[in-house]
């Protein structure tokens, strides 16, 4: 069985490889980007946003006649694999990428996936442009692993400052799921609140909860001035907010965890239910950024992913392709990584940013672009406040 099995996988891998290279014969060289992210199950929207971004960047490069690498114009293609939000799913996906000769990975998204991927990346010299808000998401022991945007350590404190100025809360309860996707973020958020002299209590719910009335009763027993839904998935956050209002809570509600305000408002019952709401918007969205969505519609002939992390992934993927151009090679990973580190952080739609991460992670490999602080006041959407790129200090 061992032999037959091995034969079968080799055959399948070959078949896949053949299938993927057909059509590239016209281009002189090819850059394959590996996309690893969760595309099925509860967190599917994150991975689908990531995949859409990588595909857009590839399409942009190809529409311009190919990505310039040395004297050649290279066709850019993507191979995406569902990593299922588990460590072993991401590890298996990375091994699959290695077998296909792919050296540059965009993704993954979740901390468990990063944990499973990093050893494989180290062993096989893969460049990774990933996410994940774990406290060891990147680090000096993984020199080829880059972070596509800062975690709460970068942006929580400035948002708390704005919220405190507006709402002057003294005590906040944070509600988040009890797994790594919840605890890694809510605990850093809580520290940011405490730094500003606001008492912060963390409440964790069992992932998969559909009715939050009990957790809300518990949260309100602490008599908070504000409630923060941290990194609860947008669907969960929507019900939490709806049920908070039903329970009579009238204070401001925060979300130091990520985008999804439109979806939250749909579930909760509109902006008037959110009433006073502040959140972290990973990208400051202006007309220039909206142009990315237009470009997606034109090039991909489909609607762009709704999740705003899409924009962040576009800028991160562009940084990688720019590094390839600068390095003048599609397969010397060390050279590409050096080029990436030395590139100024800049994007035609997103503006100028910084490389950060030295203070928190011990390595300066975290992309930081200007981000947004969203506000809804008295049920009215306010223009998102632009905040300069987080410095991580």
């Amino acid at each position: 069985m061992g032999n037959r099995f091995h034969g079968a996988t080799t055959m399948a891998a070959t078949a896949l490889a053949i299938g993927l290279t057909v059509g590239s014969a016209a281009a002189q060289c090819e850059l394959k980007l590996g996309v690893i992210g969760v595309m099925s199950g509860p967190a599917a929207q994150w991975g689908l946003a990531l995949r859409g971004a990588a595909e857009l960047v590839a399409a942009e490069a190809n529409a311009a006649g190919g990505l310039p690498v040395g004297s050649q114009k290279c066709k850019v293609s993507t191979v995406s694999i569902d990593s299922k939000y588990t460590a072993e799913g991401a590890a298996a996906a990375a091994n699959n990428m290695v077998s296909q000769g792919i050296k540059l990975i965009i993704g993954p998204i979740g901390s468990p996936e990063m944990t499973g991927l990093k050893p494989i990346a180290n062993r096989n010299n893969l460049l990774v442009m990933g996410n994940g808000y774990a406290k060891d998401a990147i680090g000096p022991q993984w020199p080829l692993v880059f972070h596509q945007g800062p975690g709460p350590s970068g942006w929580a404190a400035p948002i708390v400052e704005v919220a405190k100025a507006k709402f002057n809360m003294k005590k906040v309860v944070l509600i988040a799921p009890n797994d790594q996707g919840g605890t890694d973020i809510a605990s850093v958020d809580a520290a940011a609140y405490k730094k500003h002299g606001i008492e912060a209590i963390e409440e964790y719910y069992q992932r998969g909860t559909t009715n939050f009335a009990p957790i809300i009763t518990r949260a309100l027993n602490a008599k908070p001035d504000a409630v923060d839904t941290a990194s609860s998935p947008p669907g969960d956050a929507g019900i939490i907010i709806k049920q908070l209002r039903q329970a009579g809570f009238a204070g401001p509600i925060g979300r130091l965890g990520g985008p999804g305000t439109e979806e939250i408002a749909r579930v909760a019952g509109g902006y008037e239910v959110l009433k006073n709401f502040y959140w972290y918007e990973p990208v400051y969205i202006d007309d220039k950024v909206r142009a990315i969505a237009e470009s997606y519609k034109k090039l991909m002939n489909a609607n762009p992913p709704e999740n705003n992390l899409f924009f962040q992934w576009v800028s991160a993927t562009r940084m990688v392709t720019k590094a390839v151009t600068k390095a003048g090679t599609v397969d010397d990973v060390k050279k590409i990584a050096d080029a990436l580190r030395s590139l100024p952080v800049e994007d035609e739609n997103m503006g100028k940013g910084l490389w950060i991460g030295k203070e928190f992670f011990g390595i300066n490999q975290e992309l930081s672009f200007p981000f947004g602080i969203g506000l809804i006041l008295d049920g009215k959407m306010q223009p998102v406040l632009r905040h300069e790129a987080a410095t991580g200090k």
Binding site: Y204, Y205, Q206, P214, T217, P234
Partner: protein, 288 residues
């Protein structure tokens, strides 16, 4: 005191939701002997069918709920008739078949409707308040539909020929078949009835909570716990167990927190089953 009353009210509303979910599950288990892993899938599908009717066809919500119940009942009937029926005596194969079907359903919904929650609102909103005690009006609707449905299913099972035939098949299939009852006709109907109940629940509950492709995952676990605690195939037992589970969840989550609350519930289930190996109200044991 107010906190205590509010928690109890939350327990009741959770109980009503769980009772509706468990009803279909216990019918399928009691009559067909099938652990239906696709139960959560029918719940989600019911929600999306109702949503599509309201949003895209402009159908009034109450009619959309009925359409959802009928659509999920129809799909359940077809699934039982063409696929499940052929494996009906093999408990493990039916378990796998329903599991596979659930994965296909969840994927279909994700691909068709996208990963984000759509806007799907319950037509009635508002909250009754007295002092610190509150009840969202929607909960009354769920509770009354729950009670009506339970009474309806009870009447159907105990006062109609269809119900008697199903119960006979559940009690002793060979004897019932020898008396001329035909599982080939009755089983798809029973399965359709149960999946229709799941679809009805989904259409009713998802606009109050939320609608997303994956929310069926947790439905299965809670239905399973409720039905087993109640004792297999017992409508009354499942209903009572649903309210007990709702109360335990409400009180443990409020007074211990989310994670510890869930831990308390699961540990309690474990202890109850060790002490009472056939559930709280159970009598028979069916192999799986």
């Amino acid at each position: 005191m107010e906190g205590f009353v509010n928690t109890a009210l939350i327990g009741v509303s959770l109980g009503a939701q769980y009772a509706l979910l468990a009803l279909g599950f216990t019918l399928i288990f009691g009559i067909l002997g099938v652990v239906n892993f696709a139960h959560g899938g029918f719940y989600v599908l019911g929600g999306y069918v109702a949503y599509a009717c309201v949003q895209h066809l402009g159908v009034p919500y109450p009619i959309a709920v009925m359409v959802a119940a009928l659509a999920t009942a129809g799909l359940g009937y077809v699934f039982e008739y063409f696929l499940l029926e052929h494996l009906i005596d093999n408990h493990l194969a039916t378990l796998m078949l329903t599991l596979g079907f659930y994965l296909v359903m969840a994927t279909g919904i994700l691909v068709v409707f996208g990963p984000e929650s759509p806007e799907f609102r319950f037509p009635i909103s508002g909250t009754l308040r007295s002092g610190g005690i509150y009840i969202p009006l929607e909960n009354f609707v769920v509770l009354s539909v729950c009670l009506l449905t339970i009474v309806g299913v009870y009447l159907l099972m105990y006062f109609t020929d269809f119900g008697r035939a199903l119960r006979a098949l559940a009690d002793d299939r060979p004897v019932a078949m020898a008396q001329g009852l035909r599982p080939g006709i009755l089983f798809p109907a029973a399965f359709g009835l149960a999946t229709g109940l799941a679809g009805l629940t989904g259409a009713l509950v998802t606009p109050i909570l939320s609608l997303a492709p994956h929310i069926g995952d947790s439905v299965l676990a809670i239905s399973f716990i409720t039905v087993i605690l109640g004792g297999l195939g017992s409508i009354g037992g499942a209903t009572a167990a649903a309210f007990i589970v709702g109360m335990v969840e409400a009180f443990s989550s409020v007074y211990l927190g989310g994670s510890k609350g869930a831990l308390t519930l699961f540990t309690l289930v474990l202890v109850i089953l060790v002490v009472r190996p056939s559930g709280l109200f159970g009598r028979e044991v069916r192999g799986a």
